[in-house]
Structures are given as structure tokens and as C-alpha cells.
Amino acid sequence: MNALTLVRKNLLRNKVRVGLMLLCIAIAFMIYGVLGSFLSAFELRDQVSAADRLMVTSRVSFSQTIPLAHAERVAAVPGVKALSYVRWGLGYYREPRNMLPIVMIDAETYLPLFPEIVLDPAARRSFLETRNGLIVGRGLAERFGWKVGGRVPLFVVNDARTDGSKTWDFVISGIYTARDKGGDENGLAGHYGYFNETLANGRDGISWIIVKTADPALNERVIAGIDRLFANSAAETKTQTEAALGKAFLSQLGDIALIVRLVVGAAFVIILFIVGNTMIFAINERTREIGLLKTIGFSPGRIVGIVAGEVMAVSALGGLIGLGAAALIVAAIAAAMKSVVPGFAMTGSVAGGGVLLILLLGTITGLAPSAKAYRLQVIDALNRR
């Protein structure tokens, strides 16, 4: 027998209580693991964003279009090296549950601006030469079983064709991969020209312009120059870096980072109280035993070690179960989430953060019961009935 035996035996004396504590902690760490993985994936996406790419959107809303003519004027702004433009809308493949962002690009100018989209030369040529060509990410192709040459009808929710239909037919010209880890392989892109010329309404409108500056140091000046150009016009613009736009897009759904931190924080504060309170209760129950240990010569420090060891063991076991469950959940839903959150996986930093949280939780929740055990007077403890 050693001190660890005492820790283990004490923990197992009330299996229901320790089981419930483990469950609480495991759930909190599971929430942390899953939400932390989301957050990590979003941050990874931001890192993938190029520093010298700016996005010009409508000042009113990200979802509002701006005139295609803006692109020509933006090209003349000093510091702009290259640009391209995009129109996007929500749509789906076959059924509404297969919701996708449908992106229409000016391929000849767009692809050079995005070297992170890796497309073999033959596929690239085929795409450029095919009016209704479509390039799709590897993940999306795997999800729907798409092959090069396959026909893909896409239903666009908010737009209609001149013939009244809302479905555009495409042929897959190529399947692209992402150059960077965590890069998006779940998108698709067709030709803006093909889409625009068949639009019933809103023709010659674009969702945003992508600007590559000659030097990231010029970003601020170029941003000011572009927005000044369209100030007080019918279609004012808001220009920002690609990373900032990504965050703005997310903020339309709510500040995910804040939500994650609040949810995790709330869960941990609750756990702190539950575990701390339960352990104080457990120490109260064992007052006489602690008095006995002190009587036979166990120092207060040694007893604190046993109590703190119990709290740390509960935190560690519950935390690791929770992180393990989170890893399984993330792995199970990663494929389904790829189109929304590319790179969704439990990273080392999330797992490492979880381990730090385990230590923090164990330390903080152990403080009160340890202090109680430390201060306990033998005479009071032995008189307790």
C-alpha cells in the first residue's frame, strides 16, 4: 500500500458520487474538445488567408451584390496588382439537405490569385475551355461520388434563370486539392460568365472583388483608396483583408469564438462548483478519518497530498474521458462538417489546452477541500460524530 492506494480507495468509496462527478467533468471537456476544434479550424482557415489579398464587398451587407463595373475602377487604384471577382449564392445538389455555397468565378483572373487551389494543368485547361465547367474540391467530390466529366445540376436558392428554372447544369472539369493543411477542399466553382448570362434578374452583379496588392504594406492605403472611390455612391463598398472578411462572415452567424469561450467557461465554472462542493462534502464525511491520520502521525502536508491527489485524479480521469469522447465525435462528424468548416479536427493545441485545463481544474477545485483538510484540528475531528 502507498499514498496512491489511499487516493484510489477513497475515490472508490462512493462509486455513484464519483461516477456523477466524472460524468460532469467529461461532459465539460467534451464540449471544450468539440467547440475548441471548431474554433481551431476557423483560426486555421484565417491563417490560410493571404496577407496581400483584399476583399471588396457591399458596405450594406456581405450578401448584397455590387456592380461588376466596380471591378474595372478598382483595377485603376494605385497599389492594386491584380484582381478578380466572385458571385456566390446558397444552393443545393439534388436535395435541400445537401446545401452548398455556389461560387461563380472569373476563372482566368481568379485561379492565379489563389495558388492554394491545386488543379492539374489538364483540368485547368478543360475548365477554362468549358462554358459550364465546374471545379470541385476533393472532399466534396468524395462526399457526392463525383467524377471528372460527370454532370451536376445545382439548384440556386435566391436566383432564377431566364427560362424560370432555378437549376444550372454543370460538367465537372477537374477536382482540386488544397495546398495547405486545413485548406478548403469542399468548395466548388463555376464560370461567372455562364451564370450571369442566364440570370433572369440581378445580372452583372458580383458579391465581392478580390484584390491582390503589390505589397501587404500598401493594404491600408489601397483599402482607403477603393472605399473612397465609391463613397456616397449607390453601391458603397467596404474593403478589408481576406482574414478580416472571414471573421466578418463568421460574425454574421454570431461571434463563434466568443460563444465557444462563453460556453466552455460557463461549463467549467459550474464544474468548479460541483467538484469543489462535492469534494468538500466528501472531506466532511471523512473528518474523523482525517483526524485519525493526523493522530497516528500523518502531517497536514501529507494529508493535503492525498486530498489533492483525489481531486486531481477525478479531474484527470473525467477530463481525459471527455477529451477522448470529443475526439471520437469530431472524427465522426468531420466529414459532414468539411464543407462548412474545412480542417475540422481535434488538433494538438486543443488536446494540449485540454490537458492544461485538467491541471487548472484539478488545482482550483482542490484548493478548498485541501485547505479544509489542512486546517482540521485533530481534537475537533475526533470529537465529530
Binding site: 500500500m1 477513497n10 485519525l292 493526523k294 497516528i296 502531517s299
Partner: protein
């Protein structure tokens, strides 16, 4: 001055001089002992008797270093112990004292052997040495065949015997027993008392037993009667 019942001992293990103990209550100071002196010889089996509130358990707690004194001196084996710090007293108890309680105070999650082993965790003994010591202690109290049993699987008498084994396993000079038979039937109590007597006579342990049971006190070599914080007589009741 208190009645000083005891003959001076040539080589006392415990020496108490002019002990006073009091505690504060709102608006009053309650004195438990005033100017109490006594000696306890090595290997002596001493019973302290007295009615409830006479101060016998407080005296035992002072001897154990788990209660403090207001004045006077407490000496153990030639060293003064009443002035030790909390942590020094804890270490001192671990090295020199065994304690037997009325309600056994066994750890319910540990087996009999593990309960007996507890004081040895504070020593530098190897696992093997500890196992041998535990086996010997359990053998002395006749519970070798119950080593793996949990306290709830043992009778009251057996639990108290485990407590005795725990008290003697680290080979302390002094064993303090607070009403060790108070929770036992007569027959079992007699067995426990015989065992304590054996520890004193065969193993040379000094035993101080607090009891209000005259039959239990008869097992001791000497009996001191305490009343209202003073020794009032020495010897067995008629």
C-alpha cells in the same frame, strides 16, 4: 496543590509537572486542570478513571499532543513535548505513540492489514518489511486469518483488535487507549483487556487507558481516579 498520589518513579517515561488547562467561554474561563502533576513509569499499565467531565480524555489528549496545555510541563522520555509545534508533535506521535479509540476508528475502505499498515507508511521501511511487521502485529492480536477483510466484515471485538495491531505495529513506547472496551460486550472486553495487559507485561509497552468501567480498570497495574480535574485517589475500587 493537587493530591499527589504517585510514588516518584526512578525512570519515568512520562512526567507531568504543574499542568494547567483551561478554555475560554463567553464571559468566563473554565479550568479543567490546575497544578496537576504525575509520573508514569516505563512498561506501566495505568488506568485513569473518573466520571464524565472529570478531564480524563483531555488528559489523554494532552499526553498524545493533540490538545495543548495552558501551563506546566509535559515530558516524554526525557524530552519536553508540550512546547513542540503542530508539525513536530505530529512527527513525535508517529514515532512514539499508538492510539486505541473507543469506536476503533478504522478506515472503512482499507482491509485489516492495510489499516494496520497505515503508521508504517510514515517510515522508511520497504514494502516487504512493512508486510512482515503487519503480519506480526496481526498475529499478536490473533487476526492473521482476517488480514484481507474490510472493517465491516469484522465484529466489534475484531475491529478493536485490528486497532490494537495498528497501535503497536510501529513499535511505539506508549499506547494510549480511550475507553477501548466502551463499545464491546463483557466477554469481548475481557479479551481486549487481556491483550492490553499482555502488551504491557510481555512487550514492555507503557499503556495509559482511560475508562469509566471499574472492571476494565482492574486489568491495569495501577488506577488513578480523577474528579473535577484533580487526582483524588490511587488504587482499585473496593
Amino acid at each position: 496543590m493537587n493530591f499527589m498520589p504517585r510514588r516518584p518513579t526512578a525512570d519515568p517515561l512520562i512526567l507531568i509537572r504543574n499542568l494547567s488547562k483551561s478554555f475560554e467561554k463567553p464571559g468566563a474561563t473554565v479550568a479543567i486542570f490546575h497544578d496537576l502533576s504525575m509520573e508514569i513509569g516505563r512498561g506501566e499499565f495505568l488506568a485513569i478513571m473518573g466520571p464524565s467531565g472529570s478531564g480524563k480524555t483531555t488528559l489523554l489528549n494532552i499526553l498524545a499532543g493533540i490538545d495543548s496545555v495552558t501551563g506546566g510541563e509535559v515530558w516524554f522520555d526525557g524530552s519536553r513535548v508540550d512546547g513542540l509545534s503542530q508539525s513536530q508533535r505530529t512527527r513525535w506521535r508517529g514515532a512514539n505513540l499508538g492510539f486505541i479509540f473507543q469506536f476503533y476508528n478504522l478506515m472503512p475502505v482499507l482491509s485489516a492489514a492495510q489499516n494496520v499498515e497505515l503508521p508504517l507508511l510514515l517510515t522508511r521501511m520497504s514494502r516487504g518489511e512493512r508486510a512482515r511487521q503487519v503480519a506480526t502485529a496481526l498475529d499478536i492480536v490473533g487476526l492473521s486469518d482476517r488480514a484481507r477483510h474490510l472493517p465491516r466484515e469484522l465484529s466489534g471485538g475484531q475491529q478493536q483488535r485490528v486497532a490494537i495491531a495498528r497501535a503497536l505495529v510501529a513499535d511505539p513506547q506508549l499506547i494510549l487507549a480511550d475507553e477501548p472496551t466502551g463499545d464491546l460486550d463483557r466477554h469481548t472486553a475481557d479479551e481486549i483487556l487481556a491483550m492490553l495487559k499482555l502488551l504491557s507485561s510481555e512487550l514492555g509497552k507503557t499503556i495509559v487507558m482511560v475508562t469509566h468501567d471499574p472492571v476494565a480498570a482492574q486489568a491495569a497495574d495501577n488506577v488513578l481516579h480523577l474528579d473535577k480535574g484533580e487526582f483524588v485517589s490511587e488504587g482499585q475500587l473496593a
